[in-house]
Subunit: 156 residues, 2 copies
């Protein structure tokens, strides 16, 4: 499971590098599908990973709106800060944690129970899914997307 | 790892169901990014999963072109057939298989070595990534995409 987190972190960094050559107008442009924009998607990915992993540690989630972070440097800084905070938990994951339970309150006030292993996989799939959307939008910008390959990344 | 395969298989089935209400013209329409079309993407996902998992079992990969399968029913049938063939291998995965080696010949005639665990994660990420592309195109069709959530699927 850790390898897929490492993959996501590497791919996210590749996308931040990809963004360097793209105008802020293109990065902020409203697009069809998903969260609706390139930079907003990268913000959303970092936010969701941080908020769930914080939840697993009994810490509060992140609730700031994207508006306060609408520049490449700000999203990169936020993602790096979040990464430092959640990395130790992810790296110390053990199979015994799979079925630990997390209680969440829905907007309707109902209690839902998730397993820790379920949340970890949710976070992994969440990032890969949104990166797939970036790969479509990259063509609208006229640039090749970052490779989504897991192989040839030195992860094994 | 198996849970992420089960997730992918469930999501793929949801997308096949989603396709039922969409015209074949929309399913075959050439689109920007990825493999360039909805049905072609679902074909490609099934093909890549089957070909890599076959490779891990020392069996030949699949090489038929999409043209021979350009209808919803044909892609569904192919995906179901592939699923039956590869499922036993995936379900019998054990951690000892992680670092087994697979030798592949590149188009330049060079030998590359992959680890079995590397290929398994490559296959998982490959499907989730391409499904992310479908979620953007679904908006072009004017339909809500299938949810990409791992949680609330009864997988835990």
């Amino acid at each position: 499971m850790l390898k897929l987190f490492e993959y996501n972190w590497q791919v996210r960094q590749d996308w931040f590098n990809w963004c360097q050559d793209v105008s802020e107008e293109e990065l902020l442009k409203k697009r069809t599908g998903g969260i609706g924009g390139i930079l907003h998607t990268l913000f959303h990915i970092a936010d969701v990973e941080f908020s769930w992993i914080s939840g697993l540690q009994g810490k509060p989630e992140f609730t700031d709106p994207f508006d306060s972070y609408a520049s490449l440097q700000k999203v990169k800084d936020l993602s790096a800060r979040f990464h430092n905070e959640i990395r130790p938990f992810v790296m110390s994951w053990t199979p015994e944690m799979e079925f630990k339970e997390l209680s969440e309150l829905t907007s309707k006030g109902e209690t839902v129970i998730f397993k820790y292993g379920e949340i970890m996989r949710h976070v992994i799939a969440h990032e890969i899914h949104h990166i797939g959307q970036l790969s479509v939008w990259s063509r609208e910008v006229g640039k090749f997307p970052v490779t989504a390959d897991f192989i040839r990344r030195g992860l094994f």
